[in-house]
Symmetry: C2
Subunit: 340 residues, 2 copies
């Protein structure tokens, strides 16, 4: 059966197509009475708004959607810059959304992007995302999806990540090689995979070097205020372990910077009394005192590769080429500075 269109409604009511369209879209220059007549008939005829044009729009859309947990974050703002650069070159527009680490908001945003008919979607998951139905919905809608940085292993799509476990292992191994033995870890939330992997890398480096894992040296930081978490846990660490701790490996730079602030405020010398190793290489890590040793995560590169991969999968879809899902691992590097 041919779908009902605006013309049919217009014909049956003796109105112009424009008036019908305006009535359905609640324009103020159409009378309430007309709106009611149009809407009643639309319901009766099971009218789907502009379905053919909608289909066209979906096929043609040169727009991609990007959902990140937070834009006020040096790493993610670098990633976005990389995505925008790639999109720009291919004349794609980028709809940016931030989930604010809120799972419900992330779900809603996915629905909005699907409804908008974007050509593809890039997501870095919120820390609170525990269910992946919304991601499978994207896949079921035949919209190319790439997860980057904060991913879910079991979702059937391409992923762009770093090897968090190896990067953490390398950082902690470096500390051990430098002679540090009682190494604390300020870890991230329990949920996201990169927080888990960095913890596991930390643990493995200890065990591989015959250093006993001491769970009392691991501090959970999940108050969404990394700087203050770092500051407060540095205080707690020294109160718990006094002189029986000589280094801290933090799951991100901001925690490390908070800890450095506490140690500076309390005249505790770094790295003499305690060494610090961060993760992510925020710009400010190079300018604080002492400058922070950390893991370079190449956010700009991650953005570029994620964007390029998404455009590739969109191209494949349009040209009926089968997509082989990829798992791209961006190489990390240790950046050694004065804090250890």
């Amino acid at each position: 059966m041919k779908p009902v269109d605006l013309k049919q409604i217009a014909r049956e009511l003796g109105l112009s197509v424009t008036t019908v369209s305006k009535a359905l879209n609640d324009y103020p220059d159409v009378s309430k009475k007309t709106k009611l007549r149009v809407k009643n008939l639309a319901i009766k005829l099971n009218y789907t708004p502009n379905s053919f044009a909608l289909g066209l729009r979906k096929q043609e859309s040169k727009t991609i959607g990007v959902i990140i947990p937070d834009n006020v974050h040096y790493f993610f703002s670098r990633v976005i810059k990389g995505i925008l650069e790639v999109a720009e070159k291919s004349n794609y527009l980028v709809i940016l959304m931030q989930s604010n680490e809120d799972y419900e908001l992330e779900k809603k945003q996915v629905d909005l992007l699907i409804g908008k008919g974007v050509a593809g979607i890039l997501i870095s998951l919120s820390n609170k995302t525990h269910d992946f139905g919304h991601l499978n919905k994207i896949i079921d809608s035949n919209i190319p999806l790439i997860l980057f940085d904060k991913i879910a292993k079991n979702v059937n799509c391409s992923k762009v990540i770093i090897d968090d476990r190896k990067a953490a292992y390398d950082a902690v191994s470096y500390l051990i090689k430098k002679g540090y033995k009682r190494i604390a870890h300020f870890r991230g939330d329990l949920n996201p995979q990169n927080s888990i992997d960095r913890f596991l890398g930390y643990k493995k480096a200890l065990l591989d070097n015959n250093i006993e894992f001491d769970s009392s040296l691991v501090y959970l930081c999940n108050n969404n205020s990394d700087f203050e978490d770092g500051y407060n846990n540095a205080k707690k660490l020294l109160s718990d372990h006094k002189n029986n701790v000589d280094a801290v490996f933090t799951v991100n730079d901001l925690l490390a910077i908070g800890a450095i602030k506490y140690f500076n405020d309390n005249k505790i010398k770094m790295p003499e009394s305690i060494a610090i190793f961060g993760f992510s290489n925020w710009f400010m890590s190079s300018v604080i005192s002492p400058s922070l040793s950390t893991v370079e995560q190449h956010g700009f590169e991650m953005g570029k590769q994620s964007g390029t991969l998404l455009l590739h999968e969109i191209y494949c879809k349009h040209n009926r080429v089968k997509v082989e899902h990829q798992r791209i691992v961006i190489q990390t590097e240790l950046v050694i500075r004065d804090s250890c």
Copy 2:
């Protein structure tokens, strides 16, 4: 005359509407011969692609465009967060673009947004934007436009700004009140209004306090690498003026942080030997040593107010309410820390 639509082309050629659409959009599963037949007839009939749906889409579009000079910038990432929050609440999508301080790119992006039929546009101008034809094109296209932070005074639209001149005047007056007399200024590029206004505020504060303006104390920073500009100009400042300078007011925090790095590296005590005052209150300004006195610019609030004003003007347009252009001034505050 009724506009030509896909159905008419399909009817005349004995094809399905889907095939006609695919042919016009160069889908690979339509033969070259068919594409040629369809395209030739489309040209002959003066067919405009999907014009009615396009019109509808424009009217319905709940998407706004945002162009900023750079997303990897604490202030702008705060602004974006504010815009996204407002848009989110009204179910508007945000297309983000960054001009990378490139005027030609900014022009191209405006064209893309107009072509996309966005409901409204927010722009913070690139430093290189010297001509405003592209902005007038937005206005002529009847698309609501708001300029924020980096604006052009003579463009006929609403603006959301801070009072840069007053903020700079307040900062320099504070330094003078604290006893500093030989105050250098690391100024921004010659072009953008906020750079000019901060310089004028600096100069006026000196003159109002009977301190002679000495142009040799003003250093131009326009290498697009603020941190290094700050570092290098701090070096140059001391080489030029030796002990005959006691404070620096910088046009942004990153320059100040570069200068602090130079002074720290050379064991020059702050504020004893030289005081520093920044502008913008980046997060890192609170965590470096010494912590930096600066001007709080309320980026998040600027984003929220700009977004809200734009949605208001879109609403007015849809409801045929005359728009009175506004000039919203976000209040700034001095944040006094250890650097002065």
